[in-house]
């Protein structure tokens, strides 16, 4: 593989006193389109970006430190608060990592329900991304349509476990709750409606000349660059690398279902948009297949009330909506994990920002931040 | 009477604006007073019933040229200008020149006063002010029929200057 053009892209940029036609612009931490408290320092020549530096950490809460002072079960709700728009996916990753550490496995029924909920979460997360991304680029209307459908997903979560956002839906070893009456019906109705809704979003944006003009050729990331920078999830797939952990290293019940991995060619913002739109369709497809046939049986494996995994370590990763979320858990044989390391997809994807933004205009910064789909809760942990 | 008051008002405003343009330290403030001065001049045109000139003065000078002026001034680093010496020390030369200008103006005025004798440096307009209606058309006729060749030559000259400025100003393509 080629050496990436600029191996030091992720390094902080030296920002000397600006010259006559250069200014240093501070975007954030309070800025309408940095999606939270991200601060981006831009060195500009007119409106063209010469260099950029992301300054993060405003939301740092020390999740990894907290993990060392909680028992395995007690820590599970904390992971929901990292990527708070995709809490279910975070929880799935953590539960499966600890299960792997214990040598246990969730029963088939739990696995299928987990798959359904995780895919619904992926749709919800992508919807929120689409809405805010469109809003950043100046389309005011899609965000309301997206939130309308996201509401349906959150309603299903609320009916299932009582919480909408930070759900803590799964337990180590399986599920806490049996599905409620009408769960299948709700999911099926949502999936049936959702087909038309995606069409609606696409009508608003996909062919729109302004939208295409604003996203095509913006923030290009080649496949080599993406891999070298560790970028995962839709941005990686949009760069032409057809890789998805759900296919490559199946977890939960993904090996039982048919679905495609969408991928792009140019690795620009428009391709990332198309990839995510297609992913929503594929998630719907998985949900429809899964809902047809949920196996009966227990929902919880026998793991005991007090979890004392044997000493050792495990790295387990799943495909979260934003990319690969990995948990590296080290056990020393006690009830508390010795070390929990989260591999946050947003954090590592954000690292590619500088590579993507150079040479573009200030207006493109918001498009690029939007297309990376970062959640600062996860970047800063 | 009304016209007189308006004339002195606008004239005073124009002169005041002009003086402030050169005395202000801040370039943007100078620009604002230049705009004031230009607007006052436009007002003078209005008192002469030259509506078209009034509007063109505003569109071209205020709306067009001054916007570009301000645009450029904003890009320049003002802090440097604020610490520079504003006036140079050639008081003698300046005094001499302004005295010469004053003398010239006075002479012109005096000659104009005595225009009734037949020696006219500045012939007074013979059109009664109130009867000027639709002078837009008059200007159009003058420019595009009587003076069409000078007008076109001036246009081409401006075009050449424009192209030249673009070529010279272009850093990269």
């Amino acid at each position: 593989m080629d050496e990436p053009q600029n191996p030091a892209t992720a390094l902080p940029v030296e920002m000397p006193i600006p010259g006559a036609d250069e200014i240093v612009l501070n975007m954030g931490p309070q800025h309408p389109s940095t999606h939270g408290v991200l601060r981006v320092k831009l060195k500009l020549d007119g409106e063209r970006i010469e260099a950029s530096e992301c300054i993060i950490g405003y939301l740092h809460r020390g999740v990894e430190k907290i993990a060392e002072h909680r028992s395995y079960q007690q820590f599970a709700p904390y992971v929901d608060r990292m990527d708070y728009v995709a809490a279910v996916s975070n929880g799935l990753g953590y539960c499966e990592a600890v299960e792997k550490l214990l040598g246990a496995e969730a029963p088939p029924r739990a696995k299928v329900v987990r798959t359904i909920l995780t895919e619904l979460q992926r749709i919800a997360s992508h919807l929120l991304w689409l809405g805010t991304h469109a809003l950043d680029i100046g389309a005011l209307t899609p965000v309301f349509y997206c939130l309308r459908e996201r509401e349906e997903v959150l309603k299903i979560f609320e009916k299932y476990c009582g919480a909408r956002l930070t759900t803590h839906a799964f337990r180590i070893g399986g599920l806490q709750y049996e599905t409620y009456d009408g769960f299948e019906h709700d999911v099926k109705r949502f999936c049936d409606d959702f087909e038309k809704k995606v069409e609606e979003y696409e009508q608003l944006l996909t062919g729109n000349r302004i939208w295409v003009g604003r996203t095509k050729g913006i923030g290009i990331l080649t496949g080599e660059q993406a891999i070298a920078l560790g970028v995962t999830g839709p941005p990686l797939r949009a760069s032409g690398v057809k890789w998805d952990i759900r296919k490559a290293m199946p977890y939960a019940a993904y090996d039982q279902y048919q679905f495609d991995i969408p991928s792009g060619q140019n690795g620009d913002t428009y391709d990332r948009y198309l990839v995510r739109m297609e992913e929503m369709r594929q998630s719907r497809r998985i949900c429809l297949q899964a809902i047809e046939n949920i196996p009966t049986g227990p929902i919880m494996a026998k793991v005991g009330k007090v979890l004392k995994p044997p000493p050792g370590e495990v790295y387990h990763a799943i495909e979260a909506p934003k990319g690969e979320i990995g948990y590296y858990v080290v056990s020393d044989g006690t009830v508390q994990p010795y070390r929990v390391r989260v591999r946050p997809p947003s954090f590592i994807n954000l690292q590619a920002f500088d590579t993507m933004a150079r040479g573009h205009l200030v207006a493109d910064v918001v498009a690029i931040i939007g297309t990376l789909d970062i959640v600062l809760g996860e970047v800063d942990r | 009477m009304t016209n007189l008051i308006l004339f002195y008002f606008f004239a005073g405003l124009a002169v005041l604006g002009g003086v402030l343009v050169v005395t202000m330290r801040n370039a943007v403030h100078s620009a604002v007073f230049l705009i004031t001065s230009l607007l006052a001049t436009a007002g003078l045109y209005l008192t002469l019933n030259a509506e078209f000139l009034f509007v063109v003065q505003i569109i071209l000078y205020v709306g067009g040229i001054m916007v570009l002026f301000v645009f450029v001034i904003m890009l320049v680093n003002l802090d440097v200008a604020l610490h520079q010496v504003q006036f140079n020390r050639q008081t003698w030369v300046a005094g001499l020149l302004s005295f010469a200008l004053l003398a010239e103006l006075l002479a012109a005025l005096a000659l104009a006063r005595s225009s009734s004798t037949g020696m006219q440096l500045l012939p007074a307009p013979h059109v009664p002010a109130a009867s000027v209606q639709g002078n837009t058309e008059q200007i159009g006729t003058l420019l595009f029929q009587n003076y069409v060749i000078p007008f076109e030559i001036a246009s081409i000259l401006l075009l050449v200057a424009l192209v030249g400025a673009v070529v010279m100003g272009k850093k990269r393509i």
């Binding site: 593989m1 030091a8 907290i66 792997k100 370590e313 990995g326 080290v330 591999r343 942990r381 | -």
Partner: protein, 158 residues
């Protein structure tokens, strides 16, 4: 794994499988060349994660953990190395640019210095912050009170 052993001999201290995961423990001095080998010959083209674990009782307290992934082989590999407090670890940023922020985070949380990383400064905590919170001897309630007092104007963040 055997190929690693064959190529680097003594530098690969241990190698074992834990719950189907390949783990290599290598000598810190040879880390960069082993990583280079892993990326170029063994096609582990993505650095998924780089982190550390603190074992205060060991002779070399920090364990630096690199999680690699190979797209062609669809395989994961974990490379570990050890470092004592204050000891320099070679940076792998020239092998995988992705290491840039991850090493900064490691430095921020553990105080591990990476040799060859040009912009090694704190990433999540403020630049002037004292202390490295993920060390085991750093209490969960402990904070840099001087910094909090000076910059936030309050006595304590708790």
């Amino acid at each position: 794994m055997k190929r690693f052993k064959a190529k680097f001999g003594e530098a690969v201290r241990e190698a074992w499988l834990d719950r189907k995961q390949a783990i290599l423990v290598v000598d810190a001095a040879k880390l960069r060349s082993i990583c280079q080998f892993a990326r170029e010959q063994e096609k582990f083209d993505m650095l998924t994660d780089l982190t550390a674990v603190d074992w205060p009782k060991r002779e070399k307290r920090f364990e630096i953990v690199l999680n690699l992934y190979s797209f062609p082989k669809n395989e994961r590999l974990r490379i570990k190395t050890h470092a004592a407090d204050g000891e320099m670890v070679p940076s792998v940023i020239t092998v995988w640019p992705a290491a840039g922020w991850l090493e900064r985070e490691c430095f921020d949380m553990f105080g591990i210095r990476f040799e060859g990383h040009a912009g090694l400064k704190r990433i999540l905590l403020p630049d002037e912050w004292q202390g490295h919170p993920l060390r085991k001897d750093h209490d969960i309630l402990q904070q840099d009170e001087a910094w909090v007092h000076e910059n936030l104007g309050i006595e304590s963040g708790q």
